[in-house]
């Protein structure tokens, strides 16, 4: 049927004796990912419209979107499984899959970005503006009432 011989593996033994190792010396030699490899998600925050579609469709629930006036987008990169479902669902195509994964650390944290012209300071500035306008309107109404009664 088929032959049977001893020392059928000599080709590999000879090759191993006279060639360099196949393994790479990581971490001394840094890793090189091919161009399509998955890693982490990044956002182009100027285009975001805070619709929340990415948050609703994320399978592990790693994304959080706060609506205006806060306007933040945050991701827990330790929970992200790099499936790319948010990238294909975003109506403005502002999410991108970039190579390089989150390094291990002691504690988990959220990475967040805020939309321009929004955020805590913007909320405060808007509240001050509204309070000023109300105060001016109340003063004008008081003056008008005073002139009418005269």
């Amino acid at each position: 049927m088929s032959k049977s011989r001893i020392m059928a593996f000599t080709w590999a033994t000879m090759k191993n004796l006279f060639s360099k190792p196949v393994t790479k010396n990581y971490p001394a030699q840094p890793i090189q990912y091919p161009e399509g490899a998955r890693g982490h998600i990044e956002i182009d925050i100027d285009e975001c419209i805070s619709c929340g579609l990415c948050e609703r469709n994320c399978p592990p629930g790693a994304l959080k979107v706060e609506k205006p006036p806060k306007g933040t987008w945050s991701i827990n990169r330790f929970d992200c499984i790099a499936c790319g479902y948010c990238v294909s669902n975003c109506p403005k195509s502002c999410l991108h899959m970039v190579t390089g994964y989150q390094e291990p650390m002691d504690e988990k944290f959220d990475y967040s970005e805020t939309r321009p012209h929004m955020g805590e300071e913007w909320v405060k500035a808007q509240a001050e503006k509204v309070a000023k306008a109300k105060a001016i309107a109340a003063q004008k109404a008081a003056e008008k009432a005073a002139t009418e009664t005269k």
Binding site: S2, A12, G36
Partner: protein
């Protein structure tokens, strides 16, 4: 009469990284009876259909197993597409074939390495996995991930293979074919490997049929069937024959799987040269309503996918019957009458994937 003793094997054992427990009834050094016991890694993935809608569930279905991951995503998409009546474009079908066959080669090389390690030939294990790394590099280049691809979607695929990548793949698999020939010669002709594989763990054709075995385990015993002949994806347009063995022992199963790796290389060449131009996905709207049964050929055998839905965005039931679940009875039958030292070999010979079995 010889005295019988019961020896437990597992869940930590020297042959697989996955837990399986066997209670072996021994008479001196010969195994007389086997009682298997699974359930160490049950995650209850089928219960998540009530919490994630049917498009998100694809990402959970493909994480059922790490080795046969593309097959699970493919089978789930096919089942939902059959219920909703979606017609997938031709280019997507050919792309699915290319990735499924690369998955098959990497799975068979992984098995060959584990088999060599089970009878102590560690250097052959390293050589098999060295070739596997080249395949995984090509998979990472085209899909983005080495084992979990996330490249399938309902209605097609998400990424494309352009001209440069296709040329690179064709060049690489020519080199891989030469190296695989050397590995195959070592497995089938070396004297010390043959003493561990010839005549060990014999399963006759009648026994394999009575026990409901599937995949290379059944084909090595002479049963002629392969689910790819059904013609799902683009297999109906490609040219191949199922590979059948004759003896039903470990040697036949080795030969069957290594020959299937060569057949996969041929199928990848055919698919890449015949692939038509066109779009890669169609948009899908609405919710599934109905039920379907789909069978595909995973590297380990026949996998059955059953979907029941009733018009809601959550499915009613999703069921995967993986090939190892059906082959467990065959494994227990090969062990009866074997020597105690051959038990690790006989566990690996059915190519078990315990995380698929218990989902």
């Amino acid at each position: 009469m010889a005295k019988r003793s019961v020896v437990p094997f597992g869940p930590q054992h020297p042959v697989l990284p996955e837990p399986i427990h066997l209670d072996l009834v021994l008479e001196d050094e010969t195994v007389v009876d086997v009682v298997p016991s699974i359930g160490f890694i049950h995650r209850g993935l089928e219960g998540l259909v009530s919490k994630k809608d049917y498009k998100e569930y694809l990402y959970i279905a493909e994480r059922t197993c790490g080795i046969c991951s593309f097959g699970h995503g493919n089978g789930y998409s096919l089942a939902i597409e059959k219920v909703m009546g979606v017609e997938v474009p031709d280019r997507a079908k050919y792309l699915r074939v290319v990735w499924a066959e690369m998955n098959r080669i990497h799975s068979h090389l992984l098995w060959a390495g584990l088999m060599a390690d089970a009878f102590g030939f560690e250097n052959l294990f390293y050589q098999c996995w060295r070739i596997r790394e080249k395949i995984l590099d090509m998979v990472e280049l085209t899909t983005g991930g080495r084992l979990i691809n996330s490249v399938d979607t309902i209605g097609g695929v998400l990424r494309d293979i352009n001209e440069d990548q296709a040329k690179l793949i064709l060049n690489n698999i020519r080199d891989i074919e030469t190296e695989l020939k050397a590995i195959r010669d070592t497995f089938l002709e070396d004297y010390s490997v043959q003493t561990r594989t010839r005549g060990v763990g014999v399963l006759t054709k009648q026994q394999a049929h009575d026990l409901g075995c599937c995949g290379p385990l059944a084909r090595a015993s002479g049963i002629n069937y392969d689910m790819r002949v059904l013609g799902y994806d683009a297999y109906g347009m490609l040219d191949f024959e199922p590979i059948i063995g004759t003896d039903g022992d470990n040697y036949s199963r080795c030969k069957c799987r290594l020959d299937e790796a060569f057949q996969s290389i041929d199928l990848i060449r055919q698919a890449l040269t015949k692939m038509p131009a066109g779009e890669i996905a169609v948009p899908v709207k609405g919710n599934p309503d109905g039920e379907s049964f789909i069978r595909i050929e995973q590297p380990r055998g026949e996998a059955v996918y059953h979907v029941e839905a009733s018009g809601d965005k959550f499915l009613d039931r999703f069921r995967v019957r993986t090939p190892t679940f059906a082959n467990l009875a065959g494994m227990c039958e090969t062990m009866k009458g074997a020597q105690y030292a051959d038990i690790p070999l006989l566990v690996v010979t059915i190519d078990p994937c315990i995380s698929c079995t218990e989902r």
